[in-house]
Symmetry: C2
Subunit: 471 residues, 2 copies
């Protein structure tokens, strides 16, 4: 009979480390109240606290989740007869959202001081009537606050919808469009506050169209909404082995943080600095909760993340890139996800039969993962054109085909990046596969950022970093 492993208690060492770490974070946080407030430091401190809280809650709540039926068995293990908690990404999402709510006042601390006491002098507190009359209140950056709040609402919505999915197993064709709902608040506020729907044209197109900017108008909102559907779903389908959902999300987040840092380190105040600060405020706590989850979800997994985490992670990226106006950069970081999606389409759209699960096949004898396959009965062969396409893919090493003596297709590897990787690199242990995919994601992402900041100057007149001189 399946049993539940792992204690729900933290060990003494864990308790000691987490408590010490939290206290250090609290100290840092309190110190940011001196002077004008340092929102980025406060955000770092809160991210640390979010890490500790998530780490502890994942352990404490594990048995509760199992009792509530949120549990699953890890079929890629030899000893797979015990249940582990499922949908633990919802803990990440809830801790993250509460952290962001608590964080709301920090980026506006300086503005609040100005609005309530005039000129940043906190000793002279003005009377309420004066503030109310709006003498200083107009200085408050309400539009930034609205962006911040709309971002939280979008993340809230995706979390609710994700939990609904994990609870009720919503059908694929219904849930595919769920993230579009979650993006509405974002788009509304984007419309009101920025309204920028024009994109910079590549230099070689400019002479023909006679301008630098091209206004996409309403199409731009369609693009953003499609983007917010794609990002969460693309992370959700690059899944199936321990740790991969979280590690790919962490890599993308780290690359975005690196990109943001580039803008903060420019010697002069860059026009995009604010958007990138905003992006950091959302990414750092995300990294905090994700690392806590990864520790528990890494091979051999002691918890599963659930669809909630994938949707939530994808939406964090959508939020920061839309409000930071750098969605093209994000696309460069999602190349493995885009490849995986495009590669999956023959099965997703039903051209080729799609089994319920396409995760790599666990060979209990060797303890290694192998590509999982779709089998073709002798009397249920693919149509000739599809058979030809399959053979062509196999020739380009984009598929493994097994044929019988008479040239009938017996089985084809399933169309996912993970299976293809195993076709290329041979059977692997689960954690080795996760490491390789993560490293590949990181290298491709770094290359993407390099293209973004260097090579982009070949087709656009200037880069956001204004390093035209470098080329």
């Amino acid at each position: 009979m399946p049993t539940t492993a792992q204690s729900a208690q933290l060990s003494d060492t864990e308790t000691l480390y987490l408590t010490g770490f939290t206290l250090a974070c609290v100290t840092v946080l309190v110190r940011t109240f001196d002077g004008e407030g340092a929102p980025l430091i406060a955000c770092l401190a809160l991210s640390g606290m979010a890490f500790a809280a998530t780490y502890a809650m994942i352990r404490w709540l594990g048995p509760t989740f199992i009792k509530a039926g949120l549990k699953g068995r890890d079929l890629s293990k030899v000893n797979n007869n015990h249940y582990i908690p499922e949908c633990m990404g919802s803990i990440c999402a809830v801790v993250y959202i509460l952290t962001m709510i608590v964080f709301i006042p920090f980026p506006f601390f300086k503005d609040i001081v100005v609005a309530t006491s005039g000129g940043g002098n906190r000793d002279v507190v003005m009377n309420v009537e004066f503030v109310q009359l709006g003498r200083l209140l107009h200085k408050f950056p309400h539009n930034k606050l609205a962006s911040f709040l709309s971002a939280i609402i979008s993340l809230h919505s995706i979390t609710l919808l994700g939990i609904g999915d994990d609870l009720f197993d919503i059908r694929w064709r219904h849930k595919f469009f769920m993230p579009a709902f979650a993006s509405i608040p974002l788009l509304v506020v984007y419309f009101i506050d920025f309204g920028v729907t024009s994109i910079v044209l590549p230099t070689f197109l400019q002479p023909y169209l006679g301008r630098e900017l091209f206004d996409l108008g309403i199409l731009y909102y369609g693009y953003m909404s499609a983007f917010s559907i794609f990002s969460p779903n693309s992370i959700n389908i690059l899944a199936g082995i321990n740790g991969i959902e979280v590690s790919q999300s962490i890599v993308i987040a780290l690359l975005l943080v690196f990109n943001d840092a580039l803008y903060l380190l420019t010697p002069y105040p860059h026009p995009a600095t604010d958007s990138h600060l905003f992006s950091l405020y959302f990414l750092l706590p995300f990294l905090g909760v994700s690392f806590a989850l990864l520790i528990h979800n890494w091979y051999p997994a002691r918890v599963f993340v659930g669809d909630t985490y994938c949707y939530f992670a994808g939406m964090v990226f959508v939020v920061v890139s839309i409000l930071g106006h750098f969605s093209k950069t994000l696309i460069l970081l999602l190349i493995p996800q885009i490849f995986n999606f495009v590669y999956s389409t023959p099965q997703l759209f039903g051209l080729i039969p799609c089994p319920r699960h396409r995760l790599p096949h666990f060979n209990a004898r060797t303890g290694l993962l192998e590509p999982s396959v779709t089998t073709w009965e002798k009397d249920k062969q693919p149509r000739p054109i599809i058979a030809q396409a399959l053979r062509l893919l196999a020739q380009f090493k984009l598929l493994r085909i097994k044929e019988d003596q008479e040239g009938r297709i017996e089985e084809t590897s399933n169309f996912t990046l993970l299976n293809l990787w195993l076709v290329w690199r041979g059977p692997k242990r689960e954690d080795k596969l996760a490491v390789e995919i993560t490293v590949m994601q990181a290298l491709l992402g770094l290359f993407g950022l390099f293209v973004r900041h260097r090579l982009a100057l070949l087709i656009f007149r200037e880069d956001n970093l204004n390093i035209t001189s470098a080329v």
Copy 2:
């Protein structure tokens, strides 16, 4: 073996009515785009659509909830061996939140038109650069938008926490404070945008303190946060019979709508008109989803509402009354809830043993509800002082006590308003009890509003309605 009743399909008549109703609402909604936009009409139309959506989804998703383990049996029925879906309030909350998100642009439609085309002339659409330069954007009421968004975040948070409670049965002492988290975004935005922490002093106190207003400062935030803990919990504990959670919430919402309408009907623009419009925007969709739930939850209940609904309803009231600055009015409407809470304290705080369930006892022979009781063993009598207090309460008809010949207490009725009502008015059928409590709530509320607008003038110099002349 327990079976599930009721079809998940809508009958043909229901489908016809709901479709027709929805189409009518869509038509009304589309027509509001003519002219300057009529947000209140749009809100009404969306509320109608929210009603239809909730009604249909409660039916469609019933079996899904049961399959996911969210189910319960109705013990106050003779034939109680079938499961009905639990936690259906979460459907209300999700539909409500999506409705509010879709509604975001409507109250700001006029402002958006001004900000994007100048002077409300929508034919002349200004170019993006112009809008971006902020020539007109400063006219946009960003502070109102921020209030709106923070209200949505608060409701989102309480929904997430409520669902967590329904799933995991969080302990009483943990969940009691959950709503405080949900109120943080509200308080932050209140602080930034209003900052009004002073209350009007009663006229008889003014000579002593030498002023009209008294500034509570940080205490005011403590008050609001206590208030946001009280309201959701107070609705959650006046529960236990079919329909009562929803019907009391609907009565409170209707009374608030009535109060709001008073401000809109004043001949001149009243300074508080905007807050009360805001309140209507949040209450009308709430009424829409609540009526759809009530139809299914009314005696004999075909679904249960779950803690989610109670928390969510309580938080809607908190949101509108804090952002509308009329929390004192809400307190007047919560008198039965306040009484129920105060009356419950001896059991909640453990002075008197508190059984797991205190809902009225169902007498299967008569089919009527009777007061449920706490029994006292002969060797486990209450301490003398408590016994005395219990007898005193019984003398004032605030308790029913059963004693044996030797004067030992055998049983006392449980300390809830529902049981007390049954002590006063005798055994009743479940729906009759619900009707009586609801009518009592409505009458007390109306009386409260009367006090608020008429008698308040005896202790305050002027009423919000400025009807000083009426006294």
